[in-house]
């Protein structure tokens, strides 16, 4: 059974349609990346899943429970951090966790466990107002993990974390998945984060899902690649590049030609240039596979 399922979800805010028909599903134990630029509709989608706002049409099911009709049952299956984790600043970290533990009827043993997992044991008695952003992020994660949810929802979770914090965070999420078989829904605009963590990635822009792809060995299968080439810039060279069969598009950026071509065709491009006596100063693959896809789908292949 799918843990999360969105079917044709629409949402208007004011007159603007923010979400224009989203379909996606997440299986058990899957780590799902939700990738898109700022304002694409990532947080709005998450707010609908969590129940902060209601979809205008379409339906959202969590472990088979509708978020509108069976809101409580659906929410009891998820742990979420929406945007920045906002806690009660005038309460200690522990008091914040206890509030949630009480509502969800979670024994204190689990609370202590979670505090250890996110590595906050020493500062858990301090007021949240005195926490750094990184500590707040970790406390937010603790709140989300508290109920050992079937679905963990994280909205741009590494915002404000330092590099070692990001590595710790990745470890915590991966462990949670391994130990509790939790599915994870991560929204992000940081490509490397998604690449290193997720099994599947969905690209969203203007409220629509542009593509859903699976990531194997930290990369996705692309049909094209972008190559930057520095050659002595002559009309001849440009013409030549355009004539090559595998090349789809050529544009100029400062002293480089940016070439979009079929995957694996870079060798052929260099060969053609050399055969035609053009001096090649530099050639490199501009984007790695995920970046390539992101630029294609989200930025319209610019």
């Amino acid at each position: 059974m799918n843990i999360l399922e969105l079917t044709n979800v629409h949402k208007k805010l004011g007159k603007i349609e923010i979400i224009r028909g989203i379909n996606l599903s997440i299986g058990e134990g899957e780590i799902f990346g939700f990738l898109g630029p700022n304002g694409a509709g990532k947080t709005t989608t998450i707010k609908m899943i969590v129940g902060l706002i209601q979809p205008d049409s379409g339906c959202i099911n969590i472990a088979g429970k509708n978020t509108v009709k069976e809101g409580n049952e659906a929410r009891s299956e998820i742990g979420a951090v929406v945007e920045n984790p906002e806690m009660y600043n005038y309460l200690s970290g522990m008091a914040n966790l206890k509030l949630i533990a009480e509502i969800r009827k979670i024994p204190m043993k689990n609370v202590h466990e979670v505090v250890e997992i996110v590595n906050l044991t020493e500062r858990i008695g301090d007021k949240v107002g005195k926490y750094s952003l990184g500590m707040k992020q970790r406390l937010g994660l603790a709140c989300a993990l508290l109920s050992k949810p079937k679905l963990l929802i994280l909205d741009e979770p590494t915002n404000g974390l330092d590099p070692s914090g990001i590595i710790d965070f990745r470890k915590i999420v991966k462990n949670a998945v391994k130990e509790m078989n939790t599915s994870v829904f991560i929204s992000s605009h940081i490509l490397s984060e998604v690449q290193q963590l997720c099994d599947t990635v969905a690209f969203i822009n203007y409220g629509e899902i542009k593509a859903i792809e699976s990531i194997t060995k930290q990369s996705i299968n692309n049909e094209t690649e972008t190559v930057s080439i520095n050659i002595s810039q002559t009309l001849e060279g440009l013409d030549l590049l355009r004539k090559i069969e595998s090349v789809e598009n050529v544009s100029q950026q400062e002293s480089y030609y940016i070439v979009t071509a079929k995957k694996g065709s870079s060798a052929q491009i260099i060969k053609t240039l050399v055969e035609n006596n053009i001096d090649v100063n530099e050639v490199f693959i501009k984007y790695d596979s995920l970046e390539q896809r992101y630029m294609e789908l989200v930025e319209g292949g610019k």
Binding site: L13, K47, V50, G51, L52, I53, Q54, G71, N72, E73, R75, S76, I78, A80, V82, E83, P85, E86, M87, Y88, N89, Y90, L91, A95, N96, L99, I100, E102, I103, R104, C143
Partner: protein, 407 residues
């Protein structure tokens, strides 16, 4: 649900602002207590025989000097001049005899029971002699006064003077005074961020992402703030009552208080402005012991606190920012109090709860006199308050469960 209410109360009492408001209330109560006490002492000074004699003596001196200041228009007329002087002499004689009377009482211990008996006899005589000449309303008032005196005699209670100060007098004055302004501002400050405070910073996101229904969240917040505001205010008042009572005595708990007086327009009399004067409805007043009066006052105050809290709570739900919520609450409460005092809007005013801030008037029935409107009674006040509580909560509840939280 009980867990949620307990959590809301816990959050409320962990906030600094709760203590700031509480300390404010305690200080205010302290100032008011001091004010009442020094006021009572001033009045007591005016009531002493020494002060009264002093007063009479200075009056006599003034009249003596007047003898030399014969007005110019009668100076030439000998008859009028001698009349003028005779008048002054008569007044002086009268004052002298008053003075002698007061002098004779100094040091003499008159039993209050004798004075009381004498007052009762006077009142009875007045009713017998003038009863036929006055209208029904005035007669009813005279009878009520007689009842009050007889109640004192039957229960062997010494009549209180205006300058007396004790626990019961204090607490009843305190509740009436706090009701005028403090309840509005204090509760607006206290309750304004009950919901809006969780939007900035948006901690509501954390709460609403839990498996609890929004209806339960908003209801538990409402119950928590109502419990907190009613209990804090009444607790401080009871402590002040005990404090004052321990020092100055509590007074006789069965001292008579007149309550439930109803009023009507006397249509037989026309005033200059074309209206009619308000008169008491015969047999409408009732005498109850002061402890009962005080309990009624506490209950009506409790109801009034719940109403203001509900109103502020509603605004707090409708508005995202705590500051805006607090401002709107204070301004609308004060504005409503002022606006409905204009005669043009007075007819509407009786449906707005701010018009019932004279809590003692609701119990005595004098609220009708304050607004010159006989339809404003204690029971209407209660109905209007309950109506507003229900209305405010329903608005808050409906809005909250349907709202999209884009915080």
């Amino acid at each position: 649900m009980i867990t949620l209410i307990r959590q809301e109360l816990y959050k409320l009492f962990m906030r600094k602002k709760t203590f700031v408001v509480l300390i404010g209330l305690i200080l205010l109560t302290g100032f008011i207590t001091y004010g009442f006490k020094s006021n009572a002492e001033n009045m007591k000074k005016y009531d002493t025989p020494e002060f009264q004699i002093e007063n009479i003596e200075s009056n006599i001196i003034y009249l003596e000097t007047e003898k030399n200041n014969i007005p110019q228009d009668i100076e030439s007329d000998e008859v009028k001049t001698s009349e003028y002087l005779e008048d002054l002499d008569r007044e002086i004689n009268q004052l002298e005899s008053e003075k002698a009377l007061i002098m004779s009482t100094i040091g003499e211990d008159i039993d209050w029971r004798d004075t009381l008996d004498q007052k009762i006899k006077q009142q009875e005589k007045m009713i017998l002699e003038d009863g036929a000449n006055v209208n029904a309303s005035e007669l009813a008032q005279m009878n009520l006064q007689l009842d009050e005196l007889q109640y004192l005699r039957d229960n062997q209670i010494e009549p209180q003077e205006y300058h007396d100060f004790n626990g019961f007098i204090f607490i009843n004055q305190l509740i009436s005074t706090l009701g005028q302004v403090f309840l509005f501002i204090g509760i607006a400050v206290f309750a304004a961020d009950m919901v809006s405070g969780e939007c900035t910073p948006p901690t509501l996101k954390l709460l609403l992402a839990q498996p609890v229904s929004r209806g339960k969240v908003i209801l538990s917040k409402f119950i928590a703030i109502v419990i907190a505001s009613v209990s804090l205010i009444i607790l401080v008042e009871i402590l002040a009552f005990i404090f004052v009572g321990m020092i100055y005595g509590f007074g006789d708990s069965s001292y008579p208080s007149i309550v439930g007086t109803a009023y009507q327009f006397d249509t037989s009399i026309f005033l200059e402005n074309g209206g009619h004067p308000l008169t008491m409805v015969p047999n409408s007043g009732e005498i109850i012991p002061v402890w009962q009066y005080t309990i009624k006052l506490f209950l009506i105050q409790g109801l009034f606190i719940v109403t203001i809290t509900s109103f502020v709570f509603m605004i707090s739900t409708l508005v995202k920012s705590s500051m805006v919520s607090m401002g709107t609450s204070v301004v609308s409460l004060i504005a409503a109090t002022i606006i409905f005092q204009f005669s043009a809007l007075q007819r509407l005013g009786k449906y707005f709860f701010t018009s019932y801030s004279s809590l003692d008037g609701l119990i005595t029935g004098n609220i009708a006199m304050y607004y010159n409107n006989p339809s404003m009674t204690g029971s209407l006040g209660i109905i209007v308050n309950v109506g507003w509580i229900i209305l405010c909560y329903l608005v808050a509840h409906t809005y909250f469960i349907k709202k999209d939280f884009l915080i």
